[in-house]
Symmetry: C2
Subunit: 508 residues, 2 copies
Amino acid sequence: MTRQAPLPATAFAPLTLRRLGIDTRDEPVVYMRRGCHVCKFEGFEAKSRVEVWRGGRRVVATLHVMEPSLIGLHEVGLSEAAWRALGGADGDQLRVAHPAPTRSFSAVRAKIFGSPLTPEGVAGIVGDIVAGRYRDIELAALITACSGARLDLAEMVALTGAMIDAGQRLRWNADIVVDKHCVGGLPGNRTTLLVVPIVAACGLLIPKTSSRAITSPAGSADTMETLAPVRLDLATMRRVVERESGCIVWGGAVNLSPADDLLIRVERPLDLDSDGLLVASVLSKKIAAGSNRVLIDLPVGDSAKIRSPEAAAALGAKLVTVGAALGLAVRTIVTDGSQPVGRGIGPALEAFDVLAVLQNAPGAPDDLRQRALTLAGAVLELGGRAAPGAGRMLAQQVLDNGSAWRKFEAICEAQGGMRVPPRARHTHDICARQSGRVVAVDNRRLAGVAKLAGAPKSPAAGVAFHAPLGTEVAPGQSLLTIHADSPGELAHARAYAEAQAQLISIQD
Amino acid sequence: MTRQAPLPATAFAPLTLRRLGIDTRDEPVVYMRRGCHVCKFEGFEAKSRVEVWRGGRRVVATLHVMEPSLIGLHEVGLSEAAWRALGGADGDQLRVAHPAPTRSFSAVRAKIFGSPLTPEGVAGIVGDIVAGRYRDIELAALITACSGARLDLAEMVALTGAMIDAGQRLRWNADIVVDKHCVGGLPGNRTTLLVVPIVAACGLLIPKTSSRAITSPAGSADTMETLAPVRLDLATMRRVVERESGCIVWGGAVNLSPADDLLIRVERPLDLDSDGLLVASVLSKKIAAGSNRVLIDLPVGDSAKIRSPEAAAALGAKLVTVGAALGLAVRTIVTDGSQPVGRGIGPALEAFDVLAVLQNAPGAPDDLRQRALTLAGAVLELGGRAAPGAGRMLAQQVLDNGSAWRKFEAICEAQGGMRVPPRARHTHDICARQSGRVVAVDNRRLAGVAKLAGAPKSPAAGVAFHAPLGTEVAPGQSLLTIHADSPGELAHARAYAEAQAQLISIQD
């Protein structure tokens, strides 16, 4: 948004900046007065795309037109997102002009009509996305065109490469740099916060950048943020990893694969995930973070993101092939995705599970512990720190003897200081109406309850899940507790949960 | 947007309406104060989707959050689009709640991932679109998922049927009701304004509803609007047709196939047209307007919407098959789409061409006249008003003897009174740099110049084209004149035209 470029030839006399204090979230909006001379000269009207310049900084924004009572004739009002992009203060001079056409969108259009994406086409698309030139509807069209099975391996390699090139790229003083990733879809599966300290405690470099939730109630970055700062800049992330061998930071703050973060902004409300975008998203982040050996966890279950072993094998093959084409050794591991992991679903509730495992607390969720040991063992073997078959044992030692917990505390301190996760203000129990045994759990609907309760936006919100498969329940026994920060969200999540007969299936 | 429905259970205490006077075009936006109790209670934040109720009227809108200096604590501010949907005045009581989830989007998601659209799925989608429940990014995803060759015949039939059912449907006291349509892509091809009066002058019923431009510099409704009102309600349209046998009105105002108009809102900025959406769009409008025999003009050319005779045949077959499944007899005609028709490109400039032909003026564009006669002749044969092969002769008689012109004047008067099309304030000639013969014309780039000049938003804007294929030109001779209402648009269109070497190709 802030590159230097010459002012377009048609740019008109300057207008005066006015920061209006309107929060439009991530969408830059500018406000001009009805009948203002620049609108007349340029033919602008409401919802026109305009390019606004303050010195060498620029932003492409949507125009809203205000009545004369709200804004002066020579003023241009900025929404908070537009102001973040341009900086400055009231009274500064701005110029407003027609933005250059988004030429790269013709490559998206060609893809929609059946032509494969070329490396040049993809580079243009990703460059324009990072420059803020894509409207949300254009991002939605791109995401849709790449969803389903519509990207072939060459397109995935091109997209991944373009996404790496569009941002920063880290390099480390080590031959082996490992990483792990889970493709998600499994509520509460917060193994990252266990694997990183175990692996780092064994001395392997693991510079982990995590996403915030895309379509789930919590991403690892959301959960970690309840325990320590995750919005680190690149220099701070480097210092943390050099001191502690590992980190768990939000990828969006370090500008690694920035196009991915912009795509996620639209993927999330559309609730669309696709193999091709997933491969490019995951691998571009790992390569940009400087890792060269990565373990990818593929949970399989009826209501997980991956529904069958065949789908996991197909996705795994794409990850391995695309990774290899870009110099990254990928190993995949298929795990059980039939039900949530641990008890908590939602940032803070998942953090409490992580703390219990790290501290070897009595009653710590054993399923989370076992998964973390399996994955950490595989990473230790992949990184050459343990012989094949000996990784899990090493991981368990490091967890049992407290080294992993001390390493986690040290990483939190290095990232800016450890925090206590928040507790929600309102809770409500959803109880069994009959006695019997839990025979099925719908991950998607359970995630839906947690999201309606406010997760991940409200970090304390979510679901505490008490009824894993096989649990014998009596009528009136709590199956799950909804946690919410506002009564409206609590009511909303509760109404939804009570209407979903398939949420948790109980048989006599 | 205005159906009666019970208030959702979580709706909170009312807020006070304040019409803010912010023009956000077609997107309803509401403004609430940072920290207001409803936002806290419901967990709303900037860009949340909210449902706002005033009595029985409701609208789904996007929330923008304002600083306390701009709005009161118990107020909810409305953009002009939100106010149009809700009505009312400052001080009225509104309720704001979470909108019901857009359940039908799961059918779009399934389509993206390869499952065909079902009649039930499509009915849900179209109903939610008409109820204002789809966000622009969701419309963009739907349009993309239906683009390319991704809709089969059964899906097109289902989509067309659902689009008819979602709006009003006209019935006429006549066994035969004809219509004509051109799939567009050919600048200046304004035959509708000639065919309708010719056919109506012969006594056939032709209740024509036209679109505004989708991706072109002018639609027939835009051109007609420079000559007479086109925003007629259904009762007025009925009176015009009962009196004059024909009309040319804007389809969007009569609520025939309203989903189509909402889709076009997003198709247009994406510049995406697809066979499946085109079939549903065209046929749903014709059937809803009550016609049962329709002629469809398919212009073919290198830079027209349809590029090859094969593509025209494929699209024609879809139109015939889907029409037949819904009781509509469709005949298609393939025409030359290698260059613009007539001289004008843009609403008013095209209207001057139409008037010249209707008035048999010396120098009237003969290509436009010939095309109109061919099409009108085919409609007269299709409607049983002329024997096969005799339609063109009848059409020519009616045009030559002035009946068509008198009928056109009568239709304009019946629609609310004839007007003189406007002239643009600024013009600029693009001249030949060499001598030679015009051997190729790029319709898309020519349309691009007209759009940059302000068409169709500024009705007087566009291009007067002076160099049809075969014209011998000398250096400095004008090839086209750009017409614009603002100097910024003129400069913009001129810069683009001068940079396009392929716009008009001249050979020695």
